[in-house]
Symmetry: D2
Subunit: 292 residues, 4 copies
């Protein structure tokens, strides 16, 4: 191996889109890039034959193009319009900002903080919002703003208005629900569709709702899992980004299941979030296309 | 490693039981065995603290005892009665007999036939019963009896009476439903409780009933699985013996899911059946204890 | 889900190639296809930044092109030459033919025969060759030719000459070593580079050579695995196509490891062979690119 | 489920031992416990037929015995001596103390700190020792002592003397090497045999020594793993406690492998350490018995 496989990745733009399928899409997009000298670092495609929709993601080396990202967007817009694309171009030099929502359980928060601190996850954490005070000191030690927004039965509208305002002020691109044990209001789910990432502590669609590990225990399943998904109005039903499971045994109590589950929750949330940050997740109805 | 780790296992008896938990059970059982010189090859226990029930499985070297299996059963019966055990003693020299039920799909059948032929699975296949003729030649090539029992809406009672008779005549200990695509009548399920082993082609409790791979596809899950369980009256709800999953991707069609699933079905059914044949599975309400 | 996701796949051609990386390759290839109305069903690419090599695989709908496969090959040859491609175009209507080599152990053979018989694996089995007679009747029951070619210390040259002749006569595209317990002569490995698929019963590079399960047992590993790879002159060192592992425990003997391992061997060989048959595996030095 | 399955575990003693195998060991031990009213919460055994050695672990409810732990130890000593046991009795009320050694990489440290803080892992962290200053503030924020002990080519003896002194002063029971990138001196390995737990960033015995992920990349393996083991004098060759793997693809660089690997390292170290803390790991030559 040359030393290049551990060198830092170059500056690049990521184009991703979906559109009605037809002949010549790849040719059109790659032709446009080639015309301007665009060097494709990576590309992947998917055609959904059921609904005749085409999905594509391309990484183009920034300095192979003779113009900046804004100009690329402007020029690509014409093709996008013509092919009726749902599209986006992001710049690897502009780190995405997320707002983390958390309750009392800290395992996912710790995990994200470590990945952020070690630069393992290429993200800015705009702030952490919690309905408890308990994680303040930990978060602030990391130099990240912490906002305590109590959520009670009688102040929900106000609480979520505050959360939304904090999100807007901080320039957040997405919410990460790192075991936030509150149900978001439907209008928030609609407004930020595809931008609220949740970790659910079961292998959905099994064990929707509360106390999934107790449900799993009672069913006598031999594996427990976790699911990272985009939040929609319907509880625990949004498009699944990533899932995984871990083996348990008859000797494990509910407490043991919870403990095993934490490891899976951390890993699955981190993987799902990474896919989101790297512009790999394209929503396809109630399913996702995750382009590697 | 000495060569002993690949030598054949010695002749042994397997005692397994469950009973109300109390002080001194292990002592009582192991004391009884020690008294007669019984050499314990392997033992495992489980105490369910929720329902205060104790589960144990012991392998005793046959020639360490001064009497045959029948006498062991007779002598142990007194302890079993006193401790209110649900118990069983089996003899490794007496191979268990199963009856396989199958429909058109042959992957699980092939898999079991190979394991039987290579002696990898220590079992006698009394016969194969199918509601189709398609597997006859394959089964008969293996020197195993094949019975075609058509199951239609208007002959169910008669068909299952015939199946039960074939089972009785063949000295079967258990039914193995190797992708038998028919729902057994409730009275059969009750009569052979804990002796009908099914493979369901989903990770239960997700996707109960028909076409689980289509259900999985529609939910956009990222893993599909299979479940080996004892059949009860309630469809796909019996105590789970074993489960496993395999990763799928957005590019996989329902046909691909079915294909991936087959590999998991084969492996899970074979593992679950082995646990059953080795007297490792003790039913605990609607859950199982699988003593290794 | 519309019913389309379970409909049979259309007739298509698969183009795959690798070449020195540069700007405009995707554009060139997709432009060529678009020019003739070629409908891309699926495409995937990989750029190896270490050795500056580009890999691509495209599936094109056959009836979207105005000419047959031979003409496609002819026309594409010009581009291929210009871009210094190592390339191939295959036709989904032409089933690949393989020759299976096997010794005494039949688990992988059974598994492949079932996949072949159920059309789960889209392959023709030209014949089965073995250094034992034991599997003849099983293979012949499937209507497949069986050749017994004894391999002994003093007849190796002659035996492999016979095997090669059988392969040539049968129109085989690839050899599948389904637990063939003989070491192939170096000249055979060289001649059929990338066309001899082996399953090795360990997670390579651990436990090269003989008795890997005993080696695994002695090392006290907690997982055992299997490796599907192309055979090269250097024993068990060829490019890895696929691998997997399974968990074992301290209570498992070497015999148990062998038994667990069989399940992994079957699954890994079947997956690796499928990747090969679907033209997904491109060799990249001593590594493989498996384009999904 | 009654609420009991999530109630805290009762106070208990854990007896574990290995000894030459013979008739009556289980009876002798369980008889001794029953004699004093000892309630067995959990028990497991293993007989190694290769070297004729027996392994057992029993959890006994503390308040079912009429005497304290010290007296239990005293009374059991007679049996232990007679049966030539290598044995130990621990008290669930006495939390084990460990000393963590770490270098620059913090992912395992973060993971352990979170498990410690949330009481998910029942352990006292006596202190953290590092050959760098970088983690001081993080550790001290948790209220745990941090010692910077530089280890250089010319001060090794002195550095390890200091480390050993810190360990002794802190009352540590075991060392946890949470990615400590230094090779311990042989005499330290010998002195604390079975009490130094390391996480190695490969699926041993593959990729011993430095830069295992680069080695894995160069071999083109399809899975990478991690190994938790007791440290012995021979580098990366000590008895394996736990292992796991994760799937990688041809598109992953060495940097990606390192990142995937971190998740496995964290999980495997945490599981291995838990087994150690719960007195489940019994060394058997160069292998381990992990009694569940």
């Amino acid at each position: 191996m040359s030393s290049s496989s551990i060198k830092p990745r170059p500056h690049y733009y990521t184009l991703r889109f979906s559109c009605p399928d037809s002949t010549g899409i790849v040719s059109r997009v790659s032709g446009f890039l080639a015309e301007h000298g665009g060097w494709i670092l990576h590309a992947s495609q998917h055609a959904d034959e059921d609904n005749n929709r085409f999905f594509m993601r391309v990484e183009v080396k920034a300095d192979s193009l003779p113009f900046p990202c804004a100009e690329l967007r402007k020029r690509f817009a014409a093709i996008a319009q013509e092919l009726q694309m749902d599209w986006q171009i992001s710049d690897s030099a502009v780190r995405k900002r997320v707002v983390i929502l958390v309750s009392r359980q800290e395992h996912c928060l710790y995990d994200l903080l470590e990945r952020w601190r070690s630069r393992d996850l290429d993200v800015d954490i705009a702030c952490v919002i919690s309905n408890h005070e308990s994680a303040r000191s930990l978060v602030e030690w990391h130099g990240i703003d912490y906002h305590h927004v109590p959520v009670a039965a009688d102040n929900k509208a106000q609480a979520y208005a505050e959360i939304e305002q904090l999100f807007a002020q901080s320039g957040g691109e997405a919410f990460v629900l790192a075991r936030f044990m509150q149900i978001l209001p439907p209008e928030l789910c609609r407004k930020y569709l595809g931008r609220i990432i949740n970790i659910h502590h079961s292998f959905l669609p099994s064990f929707v709702g509360a106390r999934p590990y107790e449900q799993a225990y009672n069913h006598g399943v031999k594996l427990v899992g976790a699911t990272c998904h985009y939040v929609t109005e319907e509880l625990d039903q949004g498009p699944i980004i990533e899932q995984d499971v871990i083996r348990i045994g008859h000797g494990d109590t509910v407490k043991d299941l919870i403990r095993y589950g934490k490891d899976i929750e951390k890993a699955v949330l981190a993987r799902g979030l990474r896919f989101h940050l790297e512009d790999r997740v394209l929503v396809n109805g109630n399913r996702t296309v995750v382009l590697r």
